[in-house]
């Protein structure tokens, strides 16, 4: 049979010659201890946006097909353990609607009764804004929408924070708030950065410039998105390849992290084409006597249907966004040589544009063809296993959950809100259809407490209505953990439901090979090997999938 694959550094690193056993006592690893103490804070990295584009477009070569190693931060179950990058949330447990819409938010948001004191400002760029301290002393980054696009960027920002938090990433707390301009004053030391000019002392005219022609309620209150400063000391963004040389815990190349490879699936789903390094943030945090680097995603204002126009003002997404890199040599050459007769396929996409939610569609959305603004090394290294992992997480979002999260955008435009939710739902279904069709979509293997002696599982493909299962074929083996050899414990058997009876024999390790027989879903016949440790408390310790 074709090779089965057990991925991961948490596997691969340990699979050094000194460790001959297939499964070790701490498998499956639930938490990657990349939070070891770093005595002094790494320096702040300032990444040039232009360099980020240039380096990823022209300097780095994409990986050679067929030579991409498996993800290096997965455990023997194929899951991503908790770490300073990732915390398993909706992928491993149900999240209530309340929990989903609360997202990363711990508190109530900025104080709206007192005065906001501006600490610094940024005029120009896609989303001009400023940093404030509220009456409680908390610091927030504040951004606004243009008057003609109520909610476009701020709504996307908040919605993005909730989705990406639910996936498992660390994101800032974020709120949409409404406040009168009179409640904002410029701090005595506030400085402003105007695009193309050196920072200087901020004056009232700077605040006026930022708050002129911005979205507001009929009563005059201005709409803001307030993003709370993340805990710790900000030390700049991380790249999507290599490791930070000043972070001792960062030893797994980022392009080999499943949480960053799978990020492509999430970004494609939500059209987060602005998923660049500059929209990440590392922070030097302290807890339990240790200080270490924690990795955040931030700024989701340019995703879904929100983007910018050629002047870099907030505007509905450019139709190119999500369909083509900023610089796509292939498309350029084809257009040039064909005298312009060859047209980019996305030229013919028809977007339904709403001022509040911009332009996003699902009919022509193709997860494989989706593109961020420029090549992303982690995305380029995504393998089917990585995509399957991410798609499983996507599948956890019900229609109701999606609509509830979209509602948090507070667009005050029911038709636009419904359209956005519908598109997200349709794009979700396309993600599932694409990535549950490549592999046998069985997952979440566990020993059923209610049905002692059975191994139950989830069929994500069937749950997504991608096929109708005729039967499951399985065969039990006794696994020699020292040699990795498997001896059959019986013949191949079939069941029609999702519960495999355990064999009577109880070697230390059991393995069951499962295939899904479903008409029209050939890939589902690929084997999934599930490993159980039968000591004292039997448990599933490993899952391997045939590619």
């Amino acid at each position: 049979m074709r090779s089965l694959f057990l991925a991961g550094a948490l596997v691969a690193f340990a699979a050094a010659p000194a460790i001959a056993q297939k499964f070790l006592s701490d498998d499956p690893v639930a938490r990657d201890r990349d939070d070891l103490h770093i005595p002094s804070a790494p320096g702040e990295i300032e990444l040039a946006s232009g360099w980020d584009v240039y380096e990823n477009t022209f300097v780095r070569n994409g990986p050679e097909k067929g030579k991409i190693p498996p993800a290096a931060n997965v455990n023997t179950l194929g899951e991503v353990p908790d770490s300073s990058w990732w915390e398993n949330r909706i992928g491993v447990r149900p999240m209530s609607i309340d929990e989903l819409v609360r997202g990363p938010n711990q508190g109530d948001g900025p104080d709206l009764h007192g005065t906001w004191t501006v600490l610094r400002g940024k005029s120009g760029g896609i989303t001009p804004g400023f940093t404030i301290q509220d009456a409680r002393g908390d610091v927030y980054f504040i951004k606004v929408d243009p008057a003609k696009h109520f909610g476009l960027a701020t709504g996307a920002d908040v919605i993005g924070s909730k989705f990406f938090h639910a996936f498992g990433y660390f994101v800032p707390e974020m709120w949409i708030v409404y406040l009168r301009k009179e409640q904002i004053r410029i701090g005595s030391d506030a400085r402003v950065r105007v695009l193309g000019m050196k920072p200087r002392k901020m004056v009232p005219a700077d605040l006026d410039a930022i708050l002129t022609d911005v979205a507001a309620l009929p009563d005059g209150r201005i709409r803001f998105v307030a993003s709370k400063a993340v805990p710790g000391k900000a030390i700049g963004p991380h790249k999507y390849f290599g490791t930070r040389p000043d972070d001792s815990n960062d030893v797994i190349p980022h392009e080999h992290r499943r949480d960053l490879r799978g990020y492509r699936v999430f970004c494609a789903w939500l059209n987060h084409d602005d998923s660049r390094s500059l929209n990440t943030l590392d922070s030097y945090v302290s807890e339990a006597g240790r200080s270490y680097v924690k990795h955040y995603l931030q700024d989701f204002s340019s995703m879904l249907g929100s983007g910018s126009d050629w002047r870099r003002n907030v505007a509905p997404q450019n139709p190119r966004a999500g369909n083509e890199y900023l610089i796509d040599a292939g498309a350029i050459v084809k257009t040039a040589l064909s005298l312009g007769i060859w047209e980019r396929p996305w030229y013919s996409i028809e977007y339904r544009i709403f001022p509040e939610v911009g332009g996003i569609e699902a009919v022509r959305f193709d997860p494989d063809q989706w593109r961020p603004e420029f090549p992303n090394a982690a995305f380029q290294h995504m393998l089917p296993d990585d995509a399957f992992w991410a798609a499983r997480i996507v599948s956890r979002f019900s229609d109701e959950a999606i609509r509830a999260i979209v509602k948090e955008g507070d667009f005050r435009a029911p038709e636009a809100e419904a359209h956005l939710a519908d598109v997200i739902i349709q794009r979700r279904d396309k993600i599932l259809a694409r990535y549950f069709g490549d592999l046998n979509p069985l997952a979440d293997f566990r020993l059923a407490p209610a049905e002692a002696g059975t191994l139950v599982f989830t069929n994500h493909g069937e749950d997504a209505r991608l096929g109708r299962v005729d039967a499951y074929e399985y065969q039990w083996f006794a696994l020699d953990n020292g040699t990795g050899r498997a001896q059959p414990l019986g013949d191949v058997a079939r069941i029609s439901h999702r519960a495999i009876p355990l064999p009577a024999a109880r070697p230390e390790y059991l393995m069951v090979r499962v295939r899904t027989l479903a008409s029209g879903a050939e890939a589902w016949k690929k084997a999934v090997d599930v490993f159980l440790r039968t000591r004292a408390q039997p448990m599933v310790v490993g899952v391997e999938r045939e590619r």
Partner: protein, 442 residues
Amino acid sequence: MRAALLLALLAGSSGLLRAAPLAEDDRPCGWAEDLDVGPRQAPLVEKRRAKCAALKAYRPGFIERQILAFEKAERPPITQINLFGLYPRIQTIDHRSQTAAGVRLWRPDVGASALDLAGSAFWSIQGFQYYDAQAGVIPHRGRSFPPFAIKGHDVFDLANVRLDDNRPFMLYAAVAHRWAPKFDFFGSGPDSRREDRASFSQRDTLVEAVAGYRVLRRLTLSGRFGYYKAAIGPGKDDDLPQVQDVFEPAALPGFGAQPRFLRYGAAAVFDGRDVAENPHRGGLLAVQWLRYDGREASAPTFDRFAVDGRAYVPLGHPQRVLALRAYASKGDPAAGGRVPFYLLPFLGGSHTLRGYVSQRYRGEKLALLQAEYRWEAAPAIELALFADTGAVAATAGEDLGRFRTDGGIGLRLKGHETVWLRLDFAWGDEGFRALFRFSPSF
């Protein structure tokens, strides 16, 4: 401190890594009080602790540092470097000037008023000099420079006049002086010969006032009144003969003496282009009347009428545009008079007949048709196939002569609102020309 770490590592050999409690200051890199990892995690923990000894700061490379400095405005863009509004510039300033270096003064909205101040001083490697000063409400958009003061007497340049959206009028005075040591003259009329190319120098002084108002959203009317004086002298091109050595006096009207002119006129410009310097749709129609009123008794007085029409037609998609231009000019001297040869409009050069050298065909009357098929390979990369055809007549009473035609291909790098760089390769009867410009063709 290290002993504690060693103890922890030794503990790892028995299957578990455990760190002993340590005082805060003694906590080494890689320490964790609650560390309790098994054999699967241990190699990663060891790798992390090993990295502790090899930590180094992120060091951006040279190019990255330059880009970052630019983005942080630590170093302003080279185009924004100025001293009290004086901007150093390297650019061409006239036909045959080649590269010129100089400074431009640009102080828009002085003291938050409507008053703008502009000035220029340039010297070219071919010895050309140009100086001007402008004051008043000068047409411009944002902080972009206004056109040179000497421009504007040609209908082509009217298309480049930009009135700010918030200030739909212009009212300014200008003074300009140009020294062009080596202009070319091939003779006037359609039968001028390439081998008759001869040199002359021209010194111009212009003082004028200009007023204009955007009467409709796309329609601007303007008028100008001023004083113009030119002085013609020996050409400084050592490789060419002097004009008087090649041409009979009758073929060089105005060579003997150059009068002073009062110059005044009016123009109307309808600008329906979507983006002025990077149009994808719409059109432009500029009409101009300009009178050169000779002040000496023997001086010729003549009118010039010119029209410049342009259309930009998207072909199925804005990435494909058919750009068309028709340009005609007619000098109308008083009875028996002639337009001085140095004031004859001409064809040839980067905006007209691109396969012919600049100033190649001069005449009191001329017509030009241009067509470009432009297609964008990317928003910033445009290619073009083009063809130009034009004809001149030596005097207004004659018919236009044989149309000269050229064709070629172009590559343009551009932003949304402007062409940064234009590279046109043109072929005509007189050979091949490569044109390298920082402006759109039309």
